[in-house]
Amino acid sequence: MCRGGDCGTVVSVQTSTTPAVHATQLSKVYGSGSSSDVKVIALDDVTVDFPRERFTAIMGPSGSGKSTLLHCLAGLDKPTSGQVYVGGTETSSLSDARLTALRRDRVGFVFQAFNLLPTLTAWENIVLPLDLAGRRPDQAFADRIIDGIGLRHRLGHKPSQLSGGQQQRVACARALITKPEVVFADEPTGALDSKSSADVLGFLRRSVDELGQTVVMVTHEPTAAAYADRVLFFADGRVVGELTEPTADRVLDRMKDLEKVDA
């Protein structure tokens, strides 16, 4: 049994050429097997790479399978078939205990809202994954992150005393504190105004540029996607397009093109 969070760290082979996250022939089918349920194919044979130290945005219409992809990549959900490699470790065959350790040590996650535990202060929320692993935070690194989110004076506050944007920045800090292979963010700015969005996105951008992080973010907003190095377009459970060096306008144009194809 895996107690105290000290499960064996997942062994991995890392070279600078392996992508941070790699998925091959990933499929996720809902409603299969049971009775009269209509099958929903959320992911349809997706093969995709997320290179290290890059910021990737994923866009696509509602219901296209973006969240499902993120969940499968982050070890929150099991794909129906296909493989996921996080930093060279194949995750779909891992036990629950090992997956838990993987999420804790090597993956960061930012949800759209309700990311934080209400009983813990901002600081305690940030270091929660380290705490769960029984490790002490690297103070210098923690300082850099905290300066990055600009909330040093609010560290002792409970989430209920922070604004939505501040809460999301705390959530981002928590995702980064373990220096993970990759940070996944599912519409992290979906519930924020433009100023707060800019704060959060700016922070994610700098974490890639200054800390060498790998970030994968799902978003509906072209302006948000413009912060990324690369945009993947998703529809009906597949990757249908890609754009590098995106600007808001180019993303918008591309989205219009895709809609036309759809129609």
Binding site: R3, F109, F111, L117, T119
Partner: protein, 819 residues
Amino acid sequence: MLRAMLRDLRAHKGRIAMTLIAITLGVAFVVTTWVISDSAAETLRGRDIRGDVAVTVRTVGGGPELTPAERDRLARIPGVASASGVAFGYAGLVGQDGKLTSARPTLAGTGWDSSDRFALVAGRTPAPGEVALHERQAREAGRETGDRTQILLSDGRSVDAVVAGLFTYRPFAETPPSVAFGDPGVLGDRFTRVELVARPGADIDAIAAAARDLVDPALRTVATGADLAAQAQARADDSAQSSRESLLGFAAVALLAGMFVIANTFSMLVTQRTRQLALLRAIGATRRQVRNAVLVEAGVLGWIASTLGVALGIGLGLLGLATTGSDDTNITLSVSPTSILVGYATGVPVTMIAAYASARRAAGVAPVAALRTDGSFAPRSLVARSILGGVAVAAGVVAIVSTLRNDLSTTERIVAMGGGIAVWLGVLFLAPVLANAVLRPVGRVMSRRGGPATRLGVRNSVRDSRRTAATTSALMVGLALVCAFATLGSSITSMLSSSIQATVPAEATVVESPVDNVALGTDVLDKARSVPGVTNASADRYMFVKVTHNGSTSQTTMSAIEPGGVIRPEVVAGTGDVRRGAVVGENQAAMIGARLGDEVTLVLDPTTSVTTTIVGLHKGMEGRPLFYVDLAVMPAKLKATTVTSVYATGPDAAAVRAGIEAAFLDRPDVVVTDRDGVIKEATEGFQLLLSLMYALFGAAIIIAAFGVVNTLALSVMERTREIGVLRAVGASRPLIRRAIRVESVVICAYGGLLGILVGIGFGAVMNHAMMGQSLWEFSVPYEIIGAALIGMVVVGVLAALWPARRASRTDILAAIGTT
């Protein structure tokens, strides 16, 4: 509107199951009590009525007995078919161990007759030279029909008789005798009463009137059989009622504990539905509609749970009667409509009262709450509640402090008790604030020391101090009661022992009767004195008497002792020299308002009283003689016949003991023991009573445990999303389980410790107010407290099992999906 709420109720079966269990258990306890006392009353009713006697003539207490001549005169009254004399006399049934059985032998013998007094259950009518035994005493003595048994008679004679049969007995007012002699002459030719049987059609009132004319009304009482039967019935009902009342006290405690659980559950159910309620308000439901909907919901739950509780209670009651009632043949099982009604009349209102606060809160939900994302109430202020609690505690403390003296009058004792109860209630009100004040710092320390599971668990336990307090209240009440009575019990036990230790020398050999508070034979003291090696032998003459002081009379106890004997009261004021007057227990003196130098009259029996002056106060207590007087002031006729214990000392204690044991070797009416034996005997019955109480209060603790499970399970549901996030960022399942377990143990430990502290305090106050001892002179029941400490941790761990499992199985994606 209502339909929506009820459908909602149905949709949350899991959430309400625990509430149902809490109400069901409480109701079941009440109904069980009712069924048992009903059946007890019904059993007595069915058995006790005698229809065969028209009129009885009996002696007035202590007066001369009836003679055969009187009987014959009564038999000649017109309309009387027959008159029989009924005698009761000393008969000590000796058991297989060679000692008397526990029944008081004084009036335990009677002559067999063919009246309805006896109902044979085994064997046959005893012939002269044989006896029949009451079946209960026969069982205790280990005798069956056909056995030979020794029976002691008054003045030390004894007979060996064959047991011809076993009987059950229908008394008018007397304690059922143990032995019925086939030869009525054994008890002499004087009667305690004469029973007249009427000819068919005779006028019973006329017979009674004629009998009254024949006898001296100062010495004889005439009553008709119908009157006596009615009185016997009234006594049976009374005793059923009083046992019902004491049992209902425990049921009330269980219900109170249940109420906390129910109130807490409703409050949580309402909190969880804030959004739904707000939506209802937003689309136009009035406050009243929302409140009534919650109340109706409570009513429905109360109704269902009461039905279950009534069924369970009847089952438990009948089961209890069937198993424990086995020493009485054919118990009448009685389930009266009242017992069922009582079940509903407690279950439904208790649930609705408990739900009322939640209903009001639900009605107060602002419609905008539907739009808020966190969907919870703003925390309610604890100020009013804390002020109320603070005032109650302060008032209680003042009441206790102002009655700190030892010599309290009855009113002051009531004030002290009231103070104790006020503090207790105050602490209940203060529980949330105390939870904040105590658990936060403790939590901080534990967080620093412990791992993440501890930290999370402790944090969650102080998250909503109102809820924590409500959850623990039931546990607190249950444990406080247990600890209060344990403290009282252990204090009384230790005071009894120290009181006995102070009055009786350790090396004294003690001679007593095997039967509690029964006088020894008149020869025992002299026989002990004549044992070689005994230099001082003296006696206690423990009697239940009345005391009159300043015109008011009350019950008390006394003992006449030899001045300079072995027994020395533990004097705290005045003198211990009984030659100068009475030495009285200091709290007894305070109770009757008497001081040193006051004159009191002790009424020994209707014809004997002793007037004396109080010359000393001793440290005695209930259970030991309260008035010590000089043997010399006792009337001669009582001097020899009232000896209850003989204490013998000599230069060689072992030789004294051996000598006395040898002297009384074959005496069934005497046991030889020492001071420790006396202490053991004095405290034993008390311990038994206490264990029974613990068992009954246990019901409250079981309900409290359900309350903890309930709260935890609901909290876990409330925190689904949070647990999902925790799992997503890497908390393992065991860690989640541990966190919930820590939370549960912290909650239980808080309630438990509070309960133990309040219990010890209240026990000390009870000891002070009821036993008249100093407030500080209580003794701590370490064993019970140890058991309570272990118990509360066990309850904490067990209560967490199911909620922790649930929490650790949370589906991460589903949890994150919920808002």
